[in-house]
Amino acid sequence: MADKICDRPRREKVSFTGMVLKPMLTTLTQFVRCSLRGRPNTILYPRERQVLPPRYRGKHLLSFTKCIGCGQCVDICPNDCMWMKKIVDPELGKIERPGVDYARCLFCGFCVEICPTDALIMTSEYELSSYDREGMAFEPESLRKDDIVVHEPKQSIKVPAVDFDKCTGKEQCAKVCPVQCIRMVDVDKTGKRMPVIDLTICTQCGKCAEVCPEKAIEMREKLVVMFERPLPVLELEKCTGCGACFRACPSQVIYMAEMPGTEKTLAGGKKGKPKKRAVFALEKCVGCSRCANACRFDALSMVPESKLTSAGKGDAGKKGAGKK
């Protein structure tokens, strides 16, 4: 009866041993351990420094020579703490390189992970404080170190990179390919054919590069990035052939090809220059979407690689709305 009067949940009884003696024993053990070791667990920070692991994510270092200025680090930054700065460098000319605002950086390392050339690394330097907010924003020049040592290089594969200007469409590469990953595709309205290489099948054997009579295919090192790569898809109707994408591309994916039969007849009866269109050699593409941003006619859209493959790269070409 007496128990039912009280609605409170009954407290669990803790004995004297569990309440007093055990905690005291615990602290005593800690005391003895701490005294025997002669050194507590803490580090006297300004005097001693912790030895940080090489994968520690601290201040960035940027190799200006490796960086291609694609700006993917800026795009993927979840805190929007990076920006591309236009620099005129005596050796490299006009370039764009990323700077980092450490007041906003969360050191997630996405920028390093997505870098297609391993130009950006994170070091174990963590003393980044400053007296004002502007001092926390590190310009690319202060991050520059051209001979960086990458502790954990990304896996590199060799891909056959097609040079569309040189390619004559003789199909030698498609014939010699042992796994038949090369397909010759008509490039719409240019009257030319170019090889499209399915990198998921390609064994990187390099036979296509050897057999090409024009040396239009070269085996190029490419780093495997963990993030999914968006690829540009061209709507040919909207393309004016202005070449903005060609100039924006940091890795020479885009070639401007003439479309025969589109020449305008000028006043004197002469024929003018034919219109041009963009042609993409997607093997080299790093997926930075600079071309799409540069296009002022909305002709380019970035489609994730997986969706593009499922739709079929060739299909896009057949429809004429697509890629390549």
Partner: protein, 371 residues
């Protein structure tokens, strides 16, 4: 070391220096004014006045020594807590961080002292005076050695044990006044908790002290310690010693009995609205009370300054007091703060019967003539 003779010599020196000027003035100034200066010098050097000044000098010396110990205790607590919790504690200021306390005190001096608008000004001012004054007064009652205590020409203070505990019990009153005067809910709760806590620990504490007094047959610290020359009272009165330790921790309001200033619940409890050096003095005073509690425990139960004559008696006393304080620190490092109802449970249901049992043991031992 004989505190009386030392302070008598010091007082003598001071009076000589003062009298040099007074007699000089008397020599320079002719007439009745000069004679007045001469008689002032004579009055200062008279035995009765010298006796009063010597006692004052004794008190100053004793409290200075005790405060030095308090500073050391704070340093010991910080270092030991660090080791119990696996970090380093004060490190940079002075050797092994010993002067960190002085640096902290200096920092408190630089802070502004703020009085809340809604506070009761007089009580707000008088509460810390009572708290700090009474706490430092305890130090004056505790002799460190057989002759290193307040004496009147070698006669120790009679009833100093009773005096010490009477002064000890003043502080909760000032805490209640402070908590009320600050006009803040946290401080008020802190003050009320202090009063409730006093209800629970004061009676077992005094009962365990009573057993010691029964065995020793005297109210004086010196007599109690001399009576323990053969055996520490902690041995026959072991239960009483444990009760006393628990109660004295509650008395000096240390973790796990720091209900009046429970940081997690009451911000800083009754000291919330005090700032600057007032707060600094509160913090220091807590350690003054801690030192007093340890010294009383050492004197009543651990044989005081009795020990092999390798080192002076005073050092024996301090070593024992420090050991008790180490136990305090150990308890603080280990135990969580208990609730108000738990401390009342503990005081009335556990400690009071144990203290009564202990008193019975003491009375039986005394009746059988063992002591």
């Amino acid at each position: 070391m004989d505190l009386w003779s030392v302070s008598y010599d010091l007082t003598n020196l001071l009076v000589d220096i003062v009298n040099f000027f007074i007699y000089g003035l008397g020599w320079l100034i002719p007439g009745s004014i000069g004679e007045a200066f001469d008689s002032l010098g004579d009055w200062l050097a008279s035995p009765g006045v010298m006796r009063i000044f010597t006692i004052l000098m004794e008190i100053i010396l004793l409290i200075v020594v005790a405060l030095l110990n308090v500073v050391t205790l704070i340093w010991i607590e910080r270092k030991l807590l660090a080791r119990f919790w696996d970090f380093r504690g004060p490190f940079y200021v002075g050797p092994l961080g010993y002067f960190q306390n002085f640096a902290d005190g200096l920092k408190f001096f630089l802070k502004q002292i703020i009085t809340p608008i809604k506070a009761d000004k007089f009580s707000y001012f008088i509460a810390p005076v009572i708290f700090i004054g009474s706490s430092i007064l305890i130090l004056g009652t505790i002799p460190i050695g057989p002759e290193f205590g307040i004496t009147d020409e070698g006669t120790p203070v009679p009833g100093s044990v009773i005096l010490a505990f009477a002064i000890f019990a003043v502080a909760p009153f000032s805490i209640l006044v402070a908590g009320w005067a600050e006009n803040n809910k946290f401080t008020l709760i802190g003050g009320m908790r202090s009063a409730a806590q006093m209800m629970s620990y004061e009676i077992p504490l005094l009962l365990s002290v009573a057993s010691v007094i029964v065995l020793a047959g005297s109210f004086s610290f010196v007599d109690v310690v001399e009576a323990q020359a053969d055996m520490w009272y902690a041995v026959p009165l072991f239960i009483g010693f444990l009760v006393f330790l628990v109660c004295i921790v509650a008395e000096v309001e240390r973790i796990p009995f720091d209900l009046p200033e429970a940081e997690a619940e009451l911000v800083e409890g009754w000291t919330t609205e005090y700032s600057g050096m007032r707060f600094g003095f509160f913090m220091m005073t807590e350690y003054v009370r801690g030192y007093a509690g340890c010294a009383i425990a050492a004197a009543l139960f651990l044989g005081g300054w009795n020990g092999p004559a390798i080192i002076p008696d005073e050092f024996w006393f301090l070593i024992k007091a420090y050991m008790v304080f180490v136990i305090f620190v150990w308890i603080r490092a280990s135990l969580p703060r208990i609730r108000t109802d738990q401390i009342l449970d503990l005081g009335w249901k556990r400690l009071l019967p144990l203290a009564m049992l202990n008193l019975v043991i003491a009375v039986v031992l005394k009746t059988l003539g063992v002591f």
